[in-house]
């Protein structure tokens, strides 16, 4: 999958950390770091994170079939 977070929008409510703990983390009080290319197997967790975000800052899309796992 591919994930991007609008960090202008992010206000560190940290709901994504609970929804997908292996893919989102806070460094310090508010600095969100995240996995931009999680494995397709994490899709359920990532989608929970997308929906849990109170400020709708997370966009996630599954890879097209021809580029799954391709590290370009």
């Amino acid at each position: 999958m591919k994930v991007v977070v609008d960090l202008n929008r992010c206000q560190a409510y940290a709901q994504c950390l609970y929804a997908a703990p292996g893919h989102f983390a806070l460094h310090g009080k508010e600095a969100l770091v995240y996995d931009p290319a999680p494995d397709e197997s994490a899709r359920g967790e990532i989608e929970r994170a997308v929906h849990a975000c109170p400020v709708r800052a997370i966009t996630a899309v599954s890879d097209a079939p021809d580029e799954t796992g391709a590290a370009r």
Partner: protein
């Protein structure tokens, strides 16, 4: 210009280009859509490059999500080399020509190279702008150089310094100005970040510049500063700003120079005489546009948020037919930076600010919201680890509300207006 376009070409396959492509499809554009990128990569996100990618956290693949039904053709690894706005085609590096009905110019910027070419060519000297740059520098950092010397007092320099400290690499940060980050944040907040950097072990040198470099067999070994001090290093990162990618527009008649490509309030590209180039639009770092929040002063905003917002506006206007149906680009500039565990955010532009007041928290706590004033009006607000309170100030900035905000209020007795 009122006929609906059948073929749209976007030059620049990065954040703005991809956002425009999404925006065009979301508005129902069903014609042929081509994105041209000079890098071999699909559109990718840059902000993580100076932070988690260098540090080796998570995946280094920051390819941006693309809608499954985007239906765009990517021509990657070839730069656009020429524009003919009369015949309406873009020429690529291999000589092929792409005709367009509408064109979006989103070619962005590149890292400013080290000014002395013989030093710039040394092994061990890095710049950071693209994914390949981040991969090269990341590999070097993960091999733990003895000391990294960073040149540049902007956000990239500080973010890379922070990453080096996270990796426990000794780092010297050379800033030409007397105050770090002053251009964007003012001396108060810039000074605070400098203080935090020093506490985290950064050897921060203000008002400091490199006199010359030493090398052995083409490999950097040391630098000598203007004050005569010599620092041994085999890894130097030059984070000294950017250059706009406008050279390919030479001869097109468009008003493009080192400050960017001039466009009007509707993102339409302009000629040198100020007339509109039919069918040609601009967005992102390369576009220089009249900012309604600053009396229409021309500005090129090199921020992530502007790239997306301006691409959205341009996409709508490309399909609008004529100017009466177009929307003006009135995005309020905003950005963030993460360094040393702090999140710094800014809305508005602090250029020319003459007053500053902390309205939440305090400099001592290193958790605050501050508002900037210019000639009695509110022009910007910044937060450090207080992002939740920052959006509340957008309205005041948009309205250019009187500054200072209320003084001596019962809930804010400590509000003090000072120099930024």
């Amino acid at each position: 210009m009122t006929t609906s376009p059948e073929r749209i070409v976007i030059v620049g396959a990065s954040l703005a280009g991809l956002a425009a492509a999404h925006g065009l499809r979301a508005r129902g554009f069903a014609g042929r859509l081509t994105l041209i990128g000079d890098e071999p990569h699909l559109p990718y996100d840059r902000p993580p490059l100076s932070k988690q990618v260098l540090r080796g956290l998570y995946s280094a693949d920051t390819t941006l999500p693309r809608h499954p039904d985007l239906g765009a053709e990517f021509r990657l690894g070839l730069p656009a080399t020429r524009l003919d706005p009369e015949e309406r085609f873009v020429e690529l590096g291999d000589g092929s020509r792409l005709p367009y009905d509408r064109l979006l110019i989103a070619t962005g910027t590149r890292a400013r190279p080290w000014p002395k070419p013989e030093e710039a060519a040394l092994d061990g000297l890095y710049t950071l702008r693209g994914r390949d740059d981040a991969q090269r520098l990341g590999q070097r950092l993960q091999a733990k150089p003895g000391r990294v010397v960073l040149v540049g007092g902007g956000f990239i320099g500080f973010e890379v310094a922070s990453t080096c400290r996270d990796l426990d690499i000794p780092v010297t940060l050379l800033v030409r100005d007397a105050t770090p980050l002053a251009a964007a944040l003012g001396a108060q907040l810039g000074g605070l970040i400098g203080e935090v950097a020093r506490e985290k072990g950064v050897d921060l040198r203000l008002a400091s510049e490199i006199e010359r470099m030493e090398a052995e067999g083409g490999r950097l070994t040391a630098v000598t500063l203007k004050d005569g001090e010599r620092i041994e290093t085999d890894c130097l990162v030059a984070a000294i700003g950017t250059l706009r990618n406008v050279e390919w527009l030479d001869g097109s008649g468009l008003a493009a120079d080192a400050k960017g490509l001039r466009c009007d309030a509707f993102c339409r590209a302009l000629r040198r005489d100020g007339s509109v180039v039919q069918g040609v639009f601009a967005a992102g770092d390369v576009a220089r546009w009249p900012n309604p929040h600053d009396d229409d002063a021309l500005v090129a905003v090199e921020h992530w948020g502007n790239a997306r917002a301006q691409a959205e506006t341009a996409a709508g206007n490309m399909l609008a037919g004529d100017a009466s149906a177009m929307r003006r680009h009135d995005h309020l500039p905003d950005f963030w930076s993460q360094q040393f565990g702090l999140t710094i955010k800014l809305v508005g532009l602090t250029d020319g600010a003459d007053a500053f007041a902390v309205v939440h928290g305090s400099l001592e706590e290193r958790r605050l919201v501050a508002v900037f004033g210019k000639e009695g009006r509110t022009v910007a607000a910044a937060s450090i680890d207080s992002a939740r309170w920052l959006p509340a100030y957008k309205a005041a900035i948009r309205e250019r509300a009187p500054f200072p905000p209320i003084e001596e209020a019962v809930d804010q007795p400590r509000l003090r207006v000072q120099e930024p």
